[in-house]
């Protein structure tokens, strides 16, 4: 379980998170939504300890994360922008992360699932955007961790890979994992998410199920519901 209490984060004068409190239960897919720049990535990075908040507490499975590092063993993270050292190959990268984590990994299976066999010895700098994203996915899914944090995992994927990703997510969810996802693809949210967290202007504007959101905004589909929220608040 992830628990966030009264989280504040400022970058310079820009207040990005302004007292966010949030509880994410075990098991299920939780979609974090919000317009560009609303602080989704900032929130996620705070959970990972990559961004240091000015105020507030974060607990992962009951343990405060401030200044800690071991808890990251329980988290699989997919960053929004796949940035890798450019001059090493895909295999070297996977090998390196496996060596650093010293945990069993099922990368072989994932490589096959996403058809990466032919790219293993290419330098990461020479991969196409979508292929990089697939490597990103392999990295994020190869360890058996209870928590997944995925920052726009669908970016750049072709339809086939997108289906594979959805299958993977369902499988992990069934295995009891907690999955946190940000995305701008509403279709993806409608088919996958159990719960929605909507960030707006540094706060949580809405938290609940898809149906609750539709009801709250009096709209039939999610896209319109969100458009409605944004129109009302601008």
């Amino acid at each position: 379980m992830i628990e966030i209490k009264d989280l504040h984060k400022k970058f310079g004068r820009l207040q990005v998170l302004d007292g966010v409190s949030l509880q994410i239960a075990d098991q299920g897919i939780f979609a974090i939504l919000g317009p560009n720049g609303s602080g989704k990535t900032t929130l996620i990075k705070s959970i990972l300890g990559m961004v240091i908040p000015q105020k507030g507490e974060i607990y992962v499975n009951g343990q405060p994360v401030k200044g800690q590092w071991e808890y990251r063993r329980q988290i699989n993270y997919l960053p929004q922008i796949a940035r890798f050292p450019e001059n090493i190959s895909v295999t070297e990268l996977l090998q390196m992360i496996k060596n650093l984590r010293s945990q069993p990994a099922n990368d072989a299976e994932l490589i096959e699932l996403f058809g990466l066999q032919g790219h293993l010895h290419k330098k990461l700098g020479n991969l196409s955007g979508g292929t990089k994203q697939k490597v990103n996915i392999v990295l994020a899914f190869m360890f058996d961790s209870p928590i997944f944090i995925l920052d726009e995992p669908t970016t750049g994927l072709d339809p086939v890979s997108l289906l594979r990703l959805k299958d993977l997510l369902r499988k992990e969810k069934e295995a009891g994992k907690t999955i946190l996802i940000t995305t701008h693809i509403m279709d993806f949210v409608e088919t996958m998410a159990d719960e929605i967290v909507f960030l707006l202007e540094g706060n949580i504007y809405f938290k609940g199920t898809l149906d609750e959101l539709k009801k709250k905004s009096n709209q039939q589909d999610l896209e319109h519901a969100i458009a409605n929220i944004l129109a009302e608040n601008s």
Binding site: F11, K45, L48, G49, M50, V51, I52, G67, W69, E70, Y71, R72, R73, I75, Y77, P79, R83, F84, P85, E86, I88, M96, I97, N99, L100, R101
Partner: protein, 260 residues
């Protein structure tokens, strides 16, 4: 930390620049020995090169590596690793690989020339030791600059500036102030001013050991008078250690608070 260090180290060892640096010292070593035709003379010339060059290479390499390993760093930050581990590992990887290039690049030609049998062995070792210290100090300063500046252009400018300041400008200001205040007793001032610049300090350290300090400038003479060679050696070594540890402490501190 060892694993992070290993990756940074191998990454650098495999890179072209380590070889360039290594070959540069190799050529320099052979050239100096050939031109001076004596190990002791070559050591003196080498000192002047080392105290200026190792800081420069350390700073530029350090800042270059810091920025170019940004992706690697971000990848590591999401792993179950301490921030300290990540940054100290990278720092040691850079500093060690540079130091090895220095030690082997210069060591080989001198060993080849019969250093083992000569009386200069101790002096030469001290020379390499100060080169190593300067490398560790300036790579650490470069990392601090990198941690404080996400803008690479700014970072590079500051890095070059700090090298210029300590290697060139500091001495200039120092000399000018000695001339302006020549009527005052400046012994203490001289000593303290030297302590605040690791480049000057290394120079003094080597000169004291070579025992020609009295011939080579005011600062050295003062130092010898105050400390005598033995104490001076240990004092300067001690200060160099402080000069290494303080920036390293700041790396850890800055890394702890930074957003990625």
């Amino acid at each position: 930390m060892i694993k992070v260090l290993q990756y940074s180290f191998y990454d650098l060892i495999r890179s072209r620049w380590s070889y360039v640096y290594f070959l540069f010292y190799l050529v320099l070593g052979f050239a100096l020995l050939f031109l001076n035709n004596s190990i002791s003379k070559a050591v003196i010339t080498l000192m002047n090169v080392i105290v200026v060059l190792t800081p420069m290479i350390g700073t530029i390499f350090g800042i270059m590596y810091y920025y170019s390993s940004r992706e690697f760093t971000e990848l590591l930050l999401a792993q179950p690793l301490r921030r300290r581990t990540i940054f100290l590992g990278q720092y040691l990887g850079v500093a060690l690989s540079l130091t090895l290039s220095l030690v082997f690049g210069l060591g080989l030609p001198f060993a080849f020339y019969g250093l083992g049998q000569s009386a200069e062995m101790g002096n030469f070792a001290l020379l390499l030791l100060s080169g190593a210290f300067l490398t560790f100090i300036f790579v650490a300063l470069a990392f601090i600059i990198g941690l404080r500046n996400d803008n690479r252009i700014k970072g590079f400018s500051y890095a070059i500036l700090i090298w210029l300041l300590l290697a060139v400008i500091y001495d200039g200001i120092f000399l000018i102030s000695l001339i302006i205040f020549e009527d005052y007793p400046l012994d203490k001032f001289t000593l303290i001013a030297t302590m605040f610049n690791p480049i000057d300090l290394s120079r003094i350290l080597i000169l004291l050991k070579l025992d020609i300090s009295a011939l080579l400038g005011y600062t050295g003479a003062i130092f010898q008078k105050f400390f005598g060679t033995q104490t001076g050696l240990f004092t300067s070594l001690g200060v160099l250690i402080v000069w290494t540890l303080v920036p390293v402490y700041f790396i850890v501190r800055l890394a702890r608070k930074k957003d990625f």
